[in-house]
Each structure stands twice: as C-alpha cells, then as structure tokens.
Amino acid sequence: MWVYEKKLQYPVRVSKCDPMMAKYLIEQYGGADGELAAALRYLNQRYTLPEKVIGLVNDIGTEELSHLEMIATMVYKLTKDATAEQMKEAGLGAHYASHDKALYFNDASGNPFSATYFTAKGDPIADLYEDIAAEEKARATYQWLINMTDDTDLIDSLTFLREREIIHSQRFREAVEIIKDDQSTKKVF
C-alpha cells in the first residue's frame, strides 16, 4: 500500500496565468512519455523483475507519482484563473467544453492516455532498457517544455523534474549491470 504525504516533492510556483503552457505541459501528465505512464510502467514491472532490482523499480515508480502531482499542480495553477476566452485562445476550447478546468489524462494534442504507451515484456533486460529509453524521452520533453516558457518559477520546477529523469536513467543503467552480472554468475554454477 501507499501512504500519502501532504506535501509536494519540490515546490511548484508559477508567475502568471498561462493556459497555453498548461496545454503543452499536459504531455507529461497523460502523454506517452509522461509521469503517469512512467509510474504505471515501473509499478507494474516490479512484480516479475529479479529480486535484486525490485526495490529500485518500486521506489522510482513511487517517485513518479510525486512527479505526476507536481505536473498536475503546474497545470492547475496555470489555468485556474483563466477565462473561457483565454482557454479558447490557448487551444483549450475543446478541453474546456468537455472538462471545464478539470485535469484530464491526455497528451498535448488531446489524445487520451493509453496503456499501449508502455509494455511489460517479462524479460528484465528488455524491461529495463525500455525504462532507460522512457527516462531519456521524458528528459528531452522537459527540455522542450523549458524552451517554450519564460516563467522562471515554472522553469525552476521543470528543471528539477528534468534532473530527476537523468538520475532515474542512471539508476536503471546500474540495474542492467546488476542483472547482467547476476545472469553471468549463474552460468558458472
């Protein structure tokens, strides 16, 4: 089970109402390389991974849930004061018609979230390589998002998230080496 912590992992502040940036940020909420896909991918893989790396994958999956909450907070704060007209101008007219200001798990183009964004191969090397690729894709997305805003408060939080992708990728790379070592050791016996 999980116990909720009534705090964000890292502060999220925005310096202006900016529904267009919210529209782009939703990519990391319900997009293919977003935080929901990441959390679900890792928390689902952990059941069948070798025991040596279960703890790591469990903990990274859990951290992803806190990143999902940070992205949601950004979107919420960037849109909460927007008028219907501003939502329309930002390209969120269709979203507003269906959801008002509620968050919805879709990507920046409006495609709803899909379980096809990640897989579970059951082969630890295949699964961990997918995890590394996912982290690198998310890191790139955070950079593209940072490039599209001049809101220094928002950039601070996005930079934190981009750095976390680098760390996760590094840890997954180490997990691959642990599995490889383990597999080659077993051949000796």
Binding site: K7, V53, E63, A175
Partner: protein, 94 residues
C-alpha cells in the same frame, strides 16, 4: 475558479514555507539516497547519511505537524481534535 485559502489557524506565513522547504530538502536527500542505495547497497557511508537525515527529517516533521497539521494519514501522523487531516491547504494550493 478561486484558490482555496488556507484556514486562519493554518496561515501560510513565510515561516510555513521555510519549514516546508527545509523538510522538502531533507526528504529529497532521502529519496536520492534510497534510489542510490538500491544499486549501491554496500555503501556504509551513504547508509549513515541516510539514517542521520531520516532522524533530522522526522524531527522537523514533528515540529511542522504541531503547527500545521498532519503530513501523513492512515495512522502515520497523530490527529488534532477536531479531525484536521481534511483541512486545507492541500499541496497544489500553496
């Protein structure tokens, strides 16, 4: 849509943000060390840092919870009377 303002006894003062950020900083060290130790379980220096930071974090959280209410639920934090877990602000409101 208006942002829910924190209740009077829960005023989001500068002191609130300072204490919250101190806890976030310590807990970040703990997240980072948790992941690091997942692949470096023999690093006794890192474990020592983890245990020290865990104590520091727990001390600050006790202080925070006395002032601003529970950080955890399902019994991991004590409650005030009346039940104050449900009180704003929630993390996305501050």
């Amino acid at each position: 849509m208006t942002e829910k303002q924190p209740s009077k006894q829960n005023e989001t003062t500068q002191a609130y943000y300072t204490l919250l950020e101190q806890i976030q900083a310590l807990d970040f060290v703990l997240v980072e060390l948790t992941l690091y130790l997942g692949t470096h379980p023999e690093d006794s220096q890192a474990i020592q840092q983890f245990n020290t930071t865990s104590l520091q974090s727990n001390q600050l959280k006790q202080q925070y919870q006395q002032l601003y209410g529970p950080l955890y639920q399902f019994g991991a934090s004590p409650s005030g009377t009346p039940w104050n877990w449900k009180d704003a602000p929630w993390p996305w409101q501050v």
